[in-house]
Amino acid sequence: MTRDLAARLEVAGEVLWLLPQRVAYWERRRTLLLADAHWGKAAAFRAGGIPVPGGTTGEGLQRLTRAVEESGARRVFFLGDFLHARSGRAPATLYALQRWRERHPELELTLIRGNHDRAAGDPPPELGIACISEPLAEGPFLLAHHPTAAEGLYGLAGHVHPVVRLIGPARQRQRLTCFWFGPHGAILPAFGDFTGGGDLRPAPGDRVFVIAGRQVVEVGGGPI
């Protein structure tokens, strides 16, 4: 893993690496966590007569491959919204996912269903992805799609597609996709490339890590 480009933090007694590929790596369990892949979103748009160029799926899979190879992960948890819409279950998209799976047969894949998964349906069984409903307790973490709190567990979720606004000297401004760590849980960035974001207003004490091009940088705030 290109560790100088990733950010390391300890949360709930575990070490997490935040990678610029928009995924988190849980070191002790050798597990990648990612949310809101929205595979097939561009295809769903095309099927609806709205032209979106192809290539987003391929780019996403390359990014995922890189995260897997650099981290040495054995498992991947998808925290919801795996497929975007039923109309996005396009043959080309599913084929690309299938090819990717064939190149990574040893990976253990789990999907914790989100709101889009209900409408879009579970991934095809050939992908070998275990599909379960949220939430799932895993070590000290509570994995879910919608941000969920539980006594004694630290939540890891998606759904929000978090983005923060930064301000700098001489009236500089910047909006960036981020990882957000609050007192009871964290929100991961949307993994999909063709996804928007909602502005998040962190409270004092929250830790925020922005994806600044090829690196993850912590901004503002202090330790939790």
Binding site: A42, A43, A44, F45, R46, A47, G48, G49, I50, P51, V52, P53, G54, G55, T56, E59, H84, A85, S87, A90, A92, H116, A119, V164, R165, L166, I167, G168, P169, A170, R171, Q172, R173, Q174, L176, D193, F194, T195, G196, R201, P202, A203, P204, V208, V210, A212, G213, Q215, V217, V219, G220, G221
Partner: protein, 825 residues
């Protein structure tokens, strides 16, 4: 019944009203009857409407032998569609129809006359689906909608005339291009069709006519000059004290007492402002100062509900209103004779605009048109003086036509594919008959076809895509969802998307830009339609509100129109500055502002026309560079990006940019290497072809311009009432589209259109080049004032900013912090 020569009949009708036709009106009638098309330009209120309208009536009377009593009454007996009357604002449709109805009634012509706009009730639409009236008053969007009907090929067999009212307002906009395409379609369906445009006087009338007529300029056509405008007087309410006057008081109502006095001098006044938010603010301020005027003053802007606007216009016509506060929504349209006072709050920003607004007053015989300007910041005094110079010199701005916007073409092609379909070769020929697409290249045409059928360029077809399909050589729409979505969107495509504002338990108030509502959080307060409101939520494509207890802490924050200064006015402004630099202060406005300009001279310098002033100021915020080309905001935005880019090539640095009509600011955390940059050709007019696009890429300008393109080309779809939930899965922001195109289909022509539009229309790159030619010959003067001098002050407080950086994102981020809750702004 005796046979009456139609012309004599028309004369008699005019005489019965105590009028006599103007010569120019008769000229238009006979030219029309001789088969000609053309353009009429005349001042507001001098009978342009009747000039265009009587011709087709005379023709009909002639053809039917002057029989003016129909054998059968009723809608079905009326002649089929003969005249289409296009109006730029749907708010004008009802008034226009009323004006057109009068001769029909008086001359007993059994035509049906109806309007069809976004406001038309469904029952009338249904009736019109069965049979169109003899004359239809409509907007460019509603005409497009008509062309998307599957039977559109059968609707126009008797169509003789299309009148385009206020053509100068449409020309130079994408709505104008949409209309050009619709006209080409109509001419293809009905080759004998004649087109007459009605226009205010503008600087390029020939071009205006050629744009309207397109290839039909090969047939007989003419420009008819109407009655000369009345004399225009421009005066100014001079603020009593200039030093306490806000330098950047966009909202300042400090001049309220003088404005009230001016309103009280007359019977009925229109107070024009430049933005909707200013309208709301002035309305509130006047009402607070004169509570007894409740019911006698009103508010008018394009976002208000139709009923409210109708009520206001009716009040103006009857003279029952003391005062109406309005935006450009009252610039156009029928006359309000009782209005005897026009007040312009803020800079008019253009000579033609000031003339047009002045013309709303003084319709009584012998009256002059008078407009009284109210500066909202000190520098506007000079802008008024310069605008008056322009009026006196008879200089009126030109409107430049739009060339080859592919987004509009794409939209029109889908419309025609819906309206019965098209064959590519015939369609290309038809499209090229318009002025906008006369030079459409073969590859652009092919790209547009590919875009609607395959989604992208031929070699990079988008899989699973379907919008328009080819069936036996015809391009048609088969998917009903695509059809429905396109029709729903046509009306809102070109204008910014609007959303209805409605009380939770009560009536609709009007519509507001979706982009404004998108920024509101539940509980936020804003003033709309003169009422303080609290935003509750958005549901079913409506913004639901409740009455707020007070207007405290709330103003509409939407931009409205940030009108740029016209090039002609900018030149006159520089001439006025040159005089001031020589110590000459001519006229009341210049005398009033002389103390401020003297401070400018003491702290820094007043630039002469052959000088280029640059001010370097240090503040807590950082290092400011102020440049004063005085070329208008559009040129300044481009020049700011260009200069920031050129300086940032010398060393890693990050600039934030602000621009207004007078100059622009580059702000950086560290001092910028200005002298080095000047030596290395900062002002050079060379290499613009490389440097300007590069500097553009460094800013977000193209990304923002893409908002409009994405909407017009049908990428972004806001949904519609009753849209199925699945429609929501097809919503994405234009910014997202821009990024995804940029990354995965960088050759996409919509992207290059965004760049071209920024270069040509926003930045007016040809003007930018000419301005640099001038500045590179000018004497550069760099001053280092300790405090921000008057010319620069409005830039200091401007909040709209662009950024240009040559530092890496990571380096920049390290100096930044989170925008935490409660951030000002």
């Amino acid at each position: 019944m005796t046979r009456v020569d139609p012309l004599v009949g028309a004369d008699r009708w005019f005489a019965s009203l105590g009028w006599r036709p103007f010569d120019y009106q008769r000229e238009v009638w006979s030219a029309f009857r001789a088969g000609e098309s053309g353009l009429v330009h005349a001042a507001t209120g001098t009978g342009k409407t009747l000039a265009a309208w009587i011709g087709p009536l005379l023709e009909w009377m002639e053809e039917t032998g002057g029989t003016t009593t129909p054998r059968r009454r009723g809608r079905a007996a009326a002649p089929p569609l003969r005249v289409l009357w296009i109006t730029p604002l749907r708010a004008l449709a009802a008034d226009t129809a009323e004006a057109l109805q009068r001769p029909l009634t008086d001359l007993e012509i059994p035509w049906t006359l109806e309007t069809r706009t976004g406001d038309t009730p469904e029952s009338v639409r249904a009736r019109q689906r069965k049979r169109l009236p003899t004359a239809l008053v409509t907007t460019p969007e509603s005409l497009s909608l008509l062309l998307s009907r599957e039977d559109s090929g059968l609707l126009f067999p008797e169509l003789r005339l299309v009148v385009v009212d206020e053509w100068h307002e449409l020309m130079g906009t994408k709505r104008g291009v949409l209309l050009e395409l619709a006209l080409a379609r109509l001419r293809a369906l009905q080759p004998e069709l004649r087109t007459w445009g009605l226009s205010a006087t503008i600087g390029n009338l020939d071009e205006a006519a050629e744009t309207l007529l397109g290839a039909y300029t090969s047939r007989p056509w003419r420009i008819v000059r109407g009655v000369d405008p009345k004399e225009v007087v421009v005066d100014t309410l001079i603020p009593p004290t200039i030093d306490r006057f806000p330098w950047a008081g966009h909202l300042g109502t400090q001049m309220l007492p003088q404005v009230l006095e001016a309103i009280e001098e007359g019977q009925s006044a229109i107070v024009f402002t430049n933005t909707r938010s200013q309208t709301e603010i002035w309305y509130q301020a006047i009402l607070a100062a004169r509570p007894d005027w409740a019911g006698l003053i009103a508010l008018h802007h394009g976002s208000l509900d139709r009923k409210t606007r109708d009520w206001v216009e009716e009040g103006l016509r009857r003279g029952t209103l003391r005062c109406v506060v309005a935006t450009s929504s009252l610039d156009l349209g029928v006359d309000f004779s009782p209005v005897d006072r026009v007040i312009q709050v803020g800079s008019p920003k253009g000579i033609a605009r000031l003339l047009q607004r002045a013309g709303r007053s003084g319709h009584r015989p012998g009256a002059v048109s008078r407009v009284t300007c109210v500066p909202t910041m000190a520098l506007e005094l000079i802008e008024v003086a310069a605008a008056r110079d322009g009026i006196e010199a008879g200089a009126v701005e030109s409107r430049l036509p739009v060339e080859r916007p592919l987004d509009v073409l794409v939209q029109h092609l889908v419309t025609v594919a819906l309206g019965g379909g098209f064959r590519p070769n015939e369609m290309l020929a038809e499209v090229r008959t318009t002025h906008a697409y006369a030079d459409l290249r073969g590859d652009e045409w092919q790209w547009a076809l590919d875009f609607i059928t395959r989604g992208g360029a031929a070699l990079q077809a988008y899989p699973e895509y379907s919008r328009v399909v080819e069936r036996d050589g015809r391009f048609v729409v088969e998917d009903r969802q695509v059809a429905r979505r396109h029709r729903m969107a046509i009306g809102t495509i070109v204008a910014d998307a609007h959303i209805t504002v409605q009380y939770l338990k009560g009536p609709r108030l009007g519509t507001v830009e979706e982009s404004f509502i998108a920024r509101l959080k539940p509980g936020d307060r804003f003033i709309f339609s003169g009422k303080p409101l609290e935003f509750v939520r958005v549901r079913d494509m409506k913004a639901w509100v409740r009455r707020a207890p007070s207007s405290k802490g709330a103003i509409p924050r939407w931009m409205g129109s940030r009108l740029p200064l016209s090039a002609d006015l900018a030149a006159l402004l520089r001439a006025r500055l040159e005089e001031a630099a020589r110590g000459v202060y001519r006229g009341a406005e210049m005398e009033a502002i002389s103390p401020l300009l003297e401070i400018q001279a003491r702290w820094s310098r007043i630039p002469r026309a052959d000088q280029f002033l640059i001010e370097r100021v240090r503040s807590r915020e950082g290092h400011h560079l102020y440049f004063f080309p005085v070329e208008g905001r559009l040129v300044h935005e481009g020049m700011a990006a260009l200069f920031a880019y050129r300086i940032s090539r010398l060393r890693p640095i990050t600039f934030t940019l602000a621009a207004n009509d007078w100059g622009f600011e580059l702000l950086s955390p560290e001092p910028a290497p200005l002298e080095e940059a000047l030596e290395k050709g900062l002002l050079s007019p060379h290499d613009l072809l490389e440097d300007v696009p590069a500097s553009l890429n460094a800013t977000e300008m193209a990304r923002r311009q893409f908002r409009e393109i994405a909407r017009v080309a049908g990428l972004v779809f806001a949904g519609y009432p009753g849209a199925p939930k699945s429609a929501r899965q097809l919503q994405a922001s234009s910014g997202l589209f821009f990024d995804v195109f940029q990354r995965y289909d960088p050759e996409n022509l919509l992207l290059s259109q965004a760049h071209r539009e920024v270069l040509e229309r926003q930045l007016e790159s040809s003007r930018l080049g000419r301005a640099l030619e001038r500045l590179s010959r000018a004497e550069v003067i760099v001053t280092e004032p300790r405090r921000t001098p008057p010319l620069a002050f409005p830039l200091l407080v401007d909040r709209t900013r662009e950024r240009v950086s040559s530092e890496s994102l990571g380096d920049r981020i390290r100096r930044m912090q989170l925008a935490l809750e409660r951030e000002a702004g």
